[in-house]
């Protein structure tokens, strides 16, 4: 079941600068896009949803769990994919890296192996098990990072600019996989072309949600904002 995410009156500062300013939104659509200029607060907003950032004021609840007090439960529900997969890929081989996400799940060896294979198949990396993870291409590394998030079977997947470092073919490949998932997906992106298939787009500017609409309307508002 897809949980509802409630962001209520959230304000957050970084180094004295307000990066999120009284943000209130409820997310329950299957596909949500988040856009905005650099420094607009969208990446901080994404980190709120996984509990990586705890707001200075206000609350974030995922399926009823407050991220400030139930961080572990929230992270079991919300997977996260970063812009740079190099930071996310830790173990020396592909299968070992995917299995790392299950370390705290206390599963048997066979179940871990089965879930790793399922996750690799979901992202098209079947047969890559023993490949050195640091020798993969950029696109393959991002798919591996995606598999590392999906293997934990989260109900929500938050992706912070997952295609920024990828070429066109790999961008399409990653977005195709994201759109095919059963989970709720929140994608932060600068690539407006990838928003066609989302249900709703939030536009951030100066730490506030300045538009919250269907993709066409939200993108038009964003373009008008940028000038």
């Amino acid at each position: 079941m897809t949980p509802t995410i409630d962001v209520c009156g959230v304000t957050h500062r970084l180094g004295g600068r307000v990066v999120l300013d009284d943000v209130t939104v409820r997310l329950d659509e299957a596909r949500i896009g988040v856009i905005g200029a650099n420094g607009s607060g969208k990446s901080t907003f994404a980190r709120l949803l996984n509990g990586l950032v705890v707001p200075d004021a206000g609350t974030v609840r995922v399926g009823g769990h407050d991220t400030a007090t139930h961080g572990a439960a929230v992270r079991r529900t919300v997977g996260f994919v970063f812009t740079n997969p190099d930071a996310q890929v830790v173990m020396p081989t592909v299968a070992e890296d995917v299995a790392l996400s299950l370390r705290r799940h206390r599963l048997g060896r066979d179940e871990v192996a089965a879930r790793v294979q399922d996750a690799l198949a979901m992202v098209g990396l079947q047969g890559f098990d023993d490949r050195p993870s640091h020798l993969l291409s950029g696109g393959e590394k991002q798919l591996l990072a995606l598999a590392g998030a999906l293997v934990a079977q989260p109900d929500v997947l938050v992706c912070d600019e997952p295609t920024t470092l990828l070429d066109l073919a790999n961008t399409r490949r990653v977005m195709g996989i994201l759109h095919g998932l059963a989970q709720m997906v929140v994608v932060v992106t600068h690539d407006l072309d990838t928003l066609d298939l989302v249900d709703r787009v939030l536009v951030f500017a100066q730490g506030r949600v300045v538009a919250d609409a269907a993709p066409a309307e939200a993108v038009a508002r964003y373009r008008a904002l940028v000038g």
């Binding site: 996260f80 970063f82 996310q88 830790v90 081989t93 996400s101 050195p132 998030a149």
Partner: protein, 203 residues
Amino acid sequence: MRRPPAPGLYSPGESRLHRCGAGPKLLGLAVALTGLVLASSVAAVVVAAAAAVLGYAVAGVGWRVALAQVWPLRWFAVVLVVLQWWLAGPVAALVTVGSLVGAVALAGLVTVTTRVSEMLAVLGGMAAPLARVGVDPDRVGLVMALGIRAVPVVAGIAAEVREAHQARGLPPDPRTYAVPLVVRTLREADSVGEALAARGLDD
């Protein structure tokens, strides 16, 4: 000449050594290295070299992978041979450098035939008694995995900083080299910490 592959990487295979558990291999390595150090003789060096050659042949990983395990030692070994020869004679030089290269070759044989996750499981098991004093054995294993991962990552950052200097035509300067290296390494550590937290490994 093409450079050998990076040392210490698992090389997939189905050999007897690959199928052997990490525990027996680590135990065997500990016994072999202890024997090599205690014996400290030409005979021990010859036995270690023969064991390493036989081991790599059984593992079937190829001579390039085998060479890669000891390749980073080459300049150090040359300096050590010269010093030992000068200070203690040719036999001492052979024993010292032979023991060092033999030990690294045998350790490399274990790492190329054993997945890191298998080694961490063994090390985690060994650290299990520490749970009584509040040490998380899983975390001990994770720290070791991150340590192993850090070697090629920091080497990669160092290479990028060096290239950036060359691209800007800057002369070699330890200060302008060290500062970006340290800053980028710390930022990388922050990113990895955040990624591990996002994967629930910090809970």
